[in-house]
């Protein structure tokens, strides 16, 4: 059946195109501003194409821009964020996988209550836990460190990762676990050799979700990390707010893009699993 270009379709496409431009415009402004010279920015308007392309702002943002009193660029803070996000994502995803496995496949007395309590964890606002968490980190002696930040993110992420894995595992027939038990497989063998190999999509969902949450987090970063161990989101804020005479918009833009790149990268690599994983449980095969 051939689709003809009816007036209705033309209106539809025009509307879609407009919306796409509307959403892409900020990205364009950021990108183009980041490669302009300061003179170009002052002289032209916001959406004009750059007159000449220079990567000076990028290199300054990366290695020599001032964030407060220090002038080492975003470099160090970028690696801070990597050091914080990667372990947090991996640990919370792995523990969430085991949690989900237990509450879906090895129900015990009270497991439903436990799961409900974990669910409540998804709805606790960040601000509520700030003070108790600060005290806890102090008691543990890991206040203002990356390890402390990792602990906070792992605990906060567990509710979500458990929920994701539990909802995935309940769609897998119980009989699979029964068959494995009769075959002689124990708790970990069933988990590692039977369930893990088919959990790829939900792993991707968890990793993307957790990485985006943790990388983009500002509040925990600004409260629980200080100075050298701050994540990139906090550093970006400091960079933009530190002015030495002239406001360097091109450097600000470049720094903002650097801060956003990893999440973009994760989406591009694993994005196609995201939708698949989220809808995996919807239709029982």
């Amino acid at each position: 059946m051939a689709k003809h270009l009816t007036p209705g379709r033309i209106v539809l496409y025009a509307a879609l195109l407009l919306m796409a431009i509307y959403y892409l415009l900020p990205l364009y402004v950021m990108l183009s501003t980041s490669v302009k010279t300061l003179d170009d920015i002052r002289g032209g308007n916001l959406i004009a194409l750059p007159q000449s392309i220079t990567l000076d702002a990028w290199s300054k943002a990366w290695s020599s821009a001032c964030t407060g009193v220090e002038c080492g660029g975003m470099k160090g803070f970028f690696w801070n964020s990597v050091k914080m996000a990667v372990p947090s994502v991996l640990i919370s995803t792995l523990i969430g996988a085991v949690n989900g496995y237990v509450v879906s496949m090895w129900r015990f007395r009270g497991s439903d209550v436990l799961f409900t309590l974990l669910l409540v964890g998804c709805f606790i606002p960040f601000q509520v836990v700030l003070l108790p968490m600060a005290r806890l980190l102090g008691e543990l002696g890991i206040a203002n460190t990356t390890s402390g930040l990792i602990l906070v993110h792992v605990i906060y992420g567990l509710a979500f990762t458990t929920l994701f894995f539990r909802n995935f595992f309940v769609t897998i027939p119980d009989e699979l676990v029964k068959a494995a038990r009769i075959d002689g497989a124990g708790f970990w063998t069933i988990f590692l050799r039977i369930l893990m190999p088919i959990s790829g999509p939900i792993f991707m969902v968890c990793v993307i979700w957790q990485f985006t949450q943790i990388w983009n987090d500002f509040l925990f970063g600004v409260v629980f990390a200080a100075g050298e161990s701050q994540p990139i989101t906090v550093a970006l804020n400091n960079l933009v707010n530190t002015s030495t005479g002239v406001k360097e918009y091109n450097v600000d833009m470049a720094a903002a893009i650097i801060a956003a790149l990893p999440t973009l990268f994760v989406y591009m690599v694993a994005g196609r699993y995201f939708v698949r994983g989220l809808t995996a449980g919807a239709v029982k095969g």
Binding site: R109, P173, E175, L176, K178, A179, A180, R181, I182, D183, G184, A185, T189, R193, I194, P197, I198
Partner: protein, 369 residues
């Protein structure tokens, strides 16, 4: 191979529901036991308890004379085939079959030989390197059986293994399971809700309802001598006719009075005289199977009671034509030869073979005679 004995087994859930109420079943080594009943009768729960996947609330289960109540599934020397096949999705057919053997730390050479032998037996050597998702329903069923066979357990447990197959394949696999049993002489417990599977496969059938074994016996025995109305109605297709009828005496012989719109006959039941005596003049349920009401040509004996009945509907099945008539205001199914059946609206002479007819108490639904 081992005998199985289930002694007074009960299952009560935490919320107080009694699922099984004192089950007693014993089969010998090499017998094929069928647990059959409508859904919710507890048959699958009982199978899971034999497998060790469900706890036993009270009573004992013995496999080969050894009490297994407290053994975990892997130590009971059983293998199970599930309704959904439960093949490990990420593993090839070969891996599916060898998984249980690897976990039991069987030497690799022996595993390879076993996989080869099982694959040949089930004619699926060419499928060994495929994933379950690349197999058809029948092939998956075969792999699930292969996985059980490879372990060479003392008891095979089947949980409605044919329910997910289409009708034709189901009949084929049924024969294959029976062949396998004849060849291996293995002890099998097989759960089904399909009475035809129960009749065709079993050496022993336990008909279950509401957590109670209603009757336990050989298929023919259960077919011919049902213990109560439920068993009689559950086993047999089309099912037994149940006609409310009065017990009367005629020429010194007790019988049941059967009427249609045009008149009545008395069917004497010589084989049940003693048991019928207390019921003289009272109403009973007269049970007679469709093949016991037939045309004169098919009824091979002479001197049986005959009644001309008005035909309501006919259903040709090919080998037989089912004729439906109305007796004592109850729809009655009769199995006749296709060329002898008359058309609806006409009258037809039907012969009643009452030698295997049964009587039930209308209130307790238990067998009288």
């Amino acid at each position: 191979m081992a005998a199985l004995s289930i002694n007074n087994v009960c299952k009560t859930y935490a919320n107080g529901t009694d699922v099984l109420k004192g089950i007693n079943i014993a089969i010998e080594d090499g017998q094929f036991l069928i647990l059959v009943g409508p859904s919710g009768c507890g048959k699958s729960t009982l199978l899971n308890m034999i497998a060790g996947l469900d706890d036993i609330s009270s009573g004992d289960i013995e496999i080969g004379g050894k009490r297994v109540n407290d053994l975990s599934p892997k130590d009971r020397d059983i293998a199970m085939v599930f309704q959904s096949y439960a093949l490990y999705p990420s593993m090839s057919v070969r891996k599916n079959i060898s998984f249980g053997l690897e976990i039991r730390k069987i030497p690799q050479g022996e595993i390879d030989a076993t996989v080869e032998r099982v694959a040949q037996m089930l004619q699926m050597t060419h499928l060994l390197d495929r994933k379950p998702s690349q197999l058809s329903g029948g092939q998956r069923q075969r792999v699930a059986m292969g996985r059980a066979l490879a372990r060479n357990p003392s008891i095979f447990l089947f949980d409605e293994p044919l329910s997910n197959l289409d009708a034709k394949l189901r009949v084929e696999m049924r024969t294959e399971i029976k062949l396998m049993h004849q060849r291996l002489k293995s002890t099998i417990v097989y759960v089904t809700h399909d009475q035809i599977e129960a009749m065709t496969l079993g050496d022993r059938i336990a008909v279950m309802k509401d957590g109670i074994v209603q009757q336990f016996g050989s298929p023919q025995d259960i077919y011919d001598n049902p213990a109560n109305l439920f068993v009689a109605s559950f086993i047999g297709s089309p099912s037994m006719n149940f006609i409310p009828a009065q017990v009367v005496e005629s020429a010194g012989v007790l019988g049941v009075k059967i009427c249609d719109d045009h008149g009545c006959v008395i069917l004497p039941l010589p084989h049940a005289q003693d048991k019928m005596k207390p019921w003289l003049g009272r109403e009973v349920i007269f049970g007679i199977r469709p093949e016991q009401i037939t045309d004169a040509r098919t009824a091979y004996r002479e001197g049986l009671p005959v009644m001309a009945c008005h035909i309501d509907v006919i259903e040709p099945t090919g080998p037989d034509t089912l004729v439906f008539v109305s007796l004592n205001n109850t729809k009655v199914c009769c199995r006749t030869h296709p060329t002898e059946a008359k058309l609806p609206g006409h009258s037809m002479e039907l012969v009643f073979d009452v030698s295997k007819a049964v009587l039930f108490d209308p209130t307790t639904e238990q067998r009288i005679a």
